[in-house]
Each structure stands twice: as structure tokens, then as C-alpha cells.
Symmetry: C2
Subunit: 202 residues, 2 copies
């Protein structure tokens, strides 16, 4: 009945965005997950079109010029971006789309696609975020401090988002995201279209 | 973590508002249902403070002057209204409050309490609404036509609501209302308060 929507899930790294997204998709396979494009080489085990769309540098640049990305960035000499066409196709089919992305990327999507629903995933506390990053055990002291500093500065963008979800326990966070997606389908945007549908079916 | 909210459920008579509200309360007894006040006499089986707050005419008028109602109306010589104090108390305790009310009443609440979340319950079709009203079997042909005409004119207020829920099947409508209530708790209203909480707990 109502339009499908693009849901942008973002937040600091280490906050558990990816796990929440996997669970949401597991519970509702009708949702489409946006796949990023990149110019870096595929790594072992990565599946083209699933992990990433792998592109040549020239092709990526030509897509940029054609306005083919909702957002893109140059990270250490490689491009990463969110191709616009697959997102628009799924929305046109009436499928909700999830885009998992960092805060900088989300802020760019706000400019190219302001109709998106922006959800910020927060840690229950900074202490807990530190614990989660340390638990991964792959990073040096300095890297951990850098990451935490970045997380705090990213959290200042919270007021640019419509919703926030505190990832205290995974099931609660997943239920929050699913409730937001369901509630957004109930929002009155074009009242006349809703009423026309009800009158037509009479 | 976030503020509790007043949810106004309204829509044409016959649409099934009351049944939806009962189910929502059954699933989540933590929600408070607003009880109306009236100056009419209690009917058999009605429990004061549960069915209605029963008031004397003079008391009701004095409450009106004191700004004690979120809305009130004079219906065939009896007053009906929504007392403000119990709603504000429950909200202050962090409890969500549901107010089930007709469209005219909801429009008055919008003026006195614009922070409410307004949900319009719609029938799947006008044909189905007619069927539901006829099924009750208590009304004459003319009364049914009057009611349907009123329903159609009330539906034109849909664009003054934030959300709509189509009561096609009861369980789906209840799930929609519960999702809206859960999602509203995730809305970013005062970003600084949310962040302060996360920093404090560190």
C-alpha cells in the first residue's frame, strides 16, 4: 500500500551495525541489502555482486560523472561507493532497502537521497564500545584510542538522524530496527493516495 | 531512556479502534489507557474510574475553566472530556499513554497537546466499513448511511495524522500500532540528552 523506503543504518565502527543488519535480513528476507562498488581487487572468498561490485577505475569514474552513486569516497587510493540504480530498482519494486554505511557516507546520502530514513546505531556506553573494540584484539593501543575518538566525534552527528537504536542486546536492537521499518510504512505521506485506494476497493 | 508519549488512536466509528486498543494493552500491560470523564449517569456495569470518571456538571465546568481537559465536548446535553492530569502523570512516570477518541476530539487534542503521536485507523475499504456497521444490526438504514457519510468526511482529516493503520486483519493492525509505539521511542528528539546518557554510563 505504501511506498518502499531506503533505510540507512550507520554509526561508529565497533557498534555492531553488521550483526544487526544480518539478523534483520534473516528475519525478513524480503528486504534488499545494498551492495557497495569498489575499485580495489577482490579478496579471497569475496563474491562479486554479493560482497561488492568490483569495478575498474575508469568505469567507476565514469559512473561518478553520470551521477550513478548515492555516495562515494576515495579510501587510500581505492574508490568505494553506493550504486544508485540497484537501490532505485528495488524501491520501485516496492522492496525496502537497507544501506549499512559509516557516518560520513550517510551524511553524503542525505544530500543525494533526503527521502531515506536515517538510523544511528549507538553503543550502550563509551566504556562498552571500548570493550567491544578491544575484544577484537586486532588493534594496537593507539589504533583503539583513534577509533574511540572518531566514534565520539561521529556521535555528534546524531541530530542529523531520524532514529537511534542503542545496541545493548542484539535482539532488542533488531526489534527496534524492525519496528522502525514497519512504522515507516504506516506514515501518512500522501493522504490522498491512501484514501483513493480505500475508495477504489469499495 | 527516551520520553514516554501520548498516542492518539482515532478514526471513524465501526473501524475497530476499541478492539485494537484492547489487544495492544493485553500484549503490553505497561501502557496506560486514558479514561474519559463525563457528566452523564453511570450505566449498569460501568465502573467509576475504569469506564469513566463520573463528574457533576459544576465540577466539570470548573475543570474546563481550569484548563483541566485535553479536549471536551457537549454531546446531547452531557459533557465528555479527556482529563489532562492523569495523562501527564503517567507520561512523567515514563509510561506511554493511549487515548482512543473520535476524529473531532483528536483534532482538539492536537491543539492542546501537539506532542502527541496521532494514528488514524482506517477500514480496508468503504465497502468493508459498511459491512461492519451493518453486521452490528442495531441501526436503521438511515443511521447506517449517516454513519458512512460521517466516516468519509472524517477520513479527510487523515493528512493531519502522523500515521495510519489499515484494520484489515486485527493481528496486523495491532502489530502496526505496537511497531509505531516502539519506533517512536527510538526517534531522535534531543540528541544531546541521548549522548549525555551514553557518556555518563562510561
Amino acid at each position: 500500500m505504501s511506498e518502499a523506503k531506503l533505510f540507512i543504518l550507520s554509526g561508529p565502527s565497533g557498534v555492531g551495525k553488521g550483526t544487526i543488519v544480518s539478523e534483520v535480513l534473516k528475519e525478513d528476507p524480503g528486504i534488499h541489502l545494498s551492495v557497495s562498488a569498489t575499485t580495489r581487487s577482490p579478496r579471497k572468498g569475496e563474491v562479486p555482486g554479493v560482497s561488492y561490485y568490483f569495478m575498474e577505475d575508469a568505469q567507476f569514474r565514469s559512473e561518478i560523472r553520470a551521477g550513478g552513486f548515492l555516495e562515494y569516497a576515495d579510501v587510500h587510493g581505492h574508490f568505494y561507493g553506493t550504486p544508485k540504480a540497484p537501490v532505485m530498482e528495488k524501491l520501485a519494486e516496492g522492496k525496502d532497502v537497507i544501506l549499512e554505511i559509516d557516518v560520513q557516507g550517510a551524511m553524503k546520502v542525505r544530500e543525494t537521497y533526503p527521502d531515506g530514513v536515517f538510523i544511528f546505531i549507538l553503543p550502550p556506553s563509551l566504556h562498552e564500545l571500548r570493550r567491544r573494540i578491544e575484544e577484537r584484539g586486532t588493534e594496537s593501543r593507539e589504533d583503539i584510542e583513534l577509533r574511540l575518538g572518531k566514534a565520539v566525534s561521529e556521535m555528534n552527528y546524531l541530530d542529523r538522524y531520524e532514529y537511534y537504536v542503542v545496541n545493548e542486546d542484539l535482539q532488542g536492537a533488531v526489534a527496534d530496527v524492525r519496528a522502525i521499518m514497519r512504522a515507516e510504512r504506516c506514515r501518512v505521506r500522501k493522504a490522498e493516495d491512501i484514501l483513493k485506494k480505500i475508495e477504489e476497493e469499495s
